[in-house]
């Protein structure tokens, strides 16, 4: 992956580079839900809430300060704080799967409605006008920390995003192999047994949920930077269902799965978007249905299972 990352800007044109940059940013978003849901077993249907909060936090801060460093930090911290608060209500209230899904979904939809109605001069934070459904255009993009005049060019941004993707991936991998990570997975397997062994299940869920929120927020800032634009669509039902589709298609319970699912679906969306044959939602809906009905475990686990069966079959025939 590192080789691909380093080599790509040399081979690909500017437009392709920008595409890949946003793809990579979305992969980070996919990983955030992948770890919360696939490993933590927390059914978060509103991951876009944290993504959107991150994007808007970046937008408002960057517009007010004209500098991106603090904006990025806030894009990570604010969604994390919100996730912690929401998580506290949900996990310490012992709400179950289905309710978690519905509440988190409702949260992102409320944000969507909320932000859509902030058009007009009255709605501003500092010098940043929220603009409601029109979105906030001309956002300051990333600059070298401390030097607001020196903006990052597309190649540098690409390297930054790829590096962040790598860091997040490796970091999550290490976390999941650590004591904390293994407890989180155990909680997904059997909450009761975890508690009976002395682990505070609610706290562990809260922490992993907060981490997921922080990572989603980071992705939000990267997205805002990519388009220099943010609109309430970051909170929409479409966005949140896309994140879920990536994880389902790629495979729950793996880190690589969400990345593959994301790349596949993003590529598909781009290709579909440029053709006029059929409506995107329609195609996505069909794909989604097909996956849930036919390949419920997602690509990566299914491929792994298939490979396992093939290897076993080969071993039997050669024995």
């Amino acid at each position: 992956m590192v080789a691909v990352g380093v080599g790509t800007p040399l081979v690909v044109d500017q437009f392709g580079l920008l595409q890949l940059t946003v793809f990579a940013s979305m992969c980070i978003l996919a990983l955030s839900l992948g770890v919360v849901w696939g490993y933590g077993g927390i059914l978060c249907f509103g991951q876009s809430a944290f993504f959107g909060l991150g994007a808007y936090s970046y937008a408002v801060t960057a517009v007010n300060l004209g500098e991106s460093t603090l904006a990025i930090v806030l894009a990570i911290v604010l969604p994390a704080v919100f996730a912690a608060l929401l998580g506290y209500f949900m996990f310490y209230g012992r709400l179950s799967d289905v309710y978690l899904g519905v509440i988190t979904l409702s949260v992102t939809l409320i944000f969507f409605n909320l932000m859509n109605s902030t058009a007009g001069d009255a709605y501003r934070i500092g010098t940043a006008r929220l603009n409601g459904f029109n979105g906030m255009p001309s956002l300051p993009t990333f600059n070298v920390p401390g030097d607001p005049g020196r903006l990052l060019d597309p190649t540098e941004t690409f390297y930054l995003v790829m590096a962040l993707l790598l860091i997040v991936y490796v970091g999550l991998h290490a976390l999941l192999a650590s004591h904390f990570g293994r407890v989180v997975v155990a909680i997904r397997e059997n909450e009761t047994r975890c508690e009976l062994l002395g682990y505070d299940v609610r706290l562990h869920k809260l922490l992993i949920f907060t981490l997921g929120g922080a990572i989603a927020g980071l992705a939000g800032s990267l997205f805002a930077n990519w388009g220099a634009f943010v609109s309430p669509n970051v909170f929409s039902l479409t966005t949140t269902s896309q994140i879920i589709i990536w994880v389902i298609v790629g495979g729950l319970g793996t880190l690589v799965g969400p990345i593959i699912g994301c790349l596949l679906m993003q590529y598909l969306a781009t290709e579909l978007g440029t053709q006029q044959l059929a409506n995107t939602s329609l195609i996505f809906g069909i794909i989604f249905l097909a996956f849930v009905l036919l390949v419920p475990r997602g690509i990566v686990p299914s491929v792994t299972a298939l490979r396992g069966r093939l290897t076993a079959a080969r071993a039997r025939s050669s024995a």
Binding site: E189, N190, R193, L196, L197, G198
Partner: protein, 240 residues
Amino acid sequence: MTEPILQTVGLSIRFGGVEAVRGVNLCLAERELRCLIGPNGAGKSTLFKLLTGQLQPTAGRIVFHGEDITGDHTHAIARRGIGIKTQVPNLFDGLTVREHLWLAARRTNSRARADAVTDEILERVGLGAQAGAVVGRLSHGLRQWVELGTVLAGNPELILLDEPAAGMTHDEVARTAELVREINRTHALIVVEHDMQFVRMIARTVTVMHQGAVLVEDTMDQILKNSAVRDIYLGKHGGA
């Protein structure tokens, strides 16, 4: 008697109109092995759930090592040193045997020590050969032992076993009894069982429960001769 490790005072729990556990006064000494028997519905598993904090009593107190733990959270009680093998096994079906023991051991030990403890327990419970097996695929008897080992790996002072011999073959039952006796050298245990052969293999003091209350507490021989006990097992409503 030196200070008891566990004491319940008038412990009760009521679900709507039914009092599943009624005024239970239990007293357990350090490293005592107590058998808890009684017909289905007597309240034995419910009593266990009260002791581990999975249910909150509607009356009475639980005192562990002199400290009142009534109303504490499950994980807090587990940290104090009470472990339980539940009636329906609570295991991590997707994880291996080794991972089970490791998770239990790691909470109270450093990384290095946890690995050592894991190996010890694997040896002690006789699961060395299955260390890498995924627990969801093991036979019922092995799953029971995995749960036992998992509880043991956390090194709780008091171990509650809810039907440890259920669904086991004769040999497995004998092995389990041996294991229980061996564990009793260093831990206190309360064992709920229906298999009387098994109970006879390990019993010292036996507590008999009926309809939520303690009927009688005595040695195994006396219990077997007790007509009231015979009656409740045969369905005649002797006693309250």
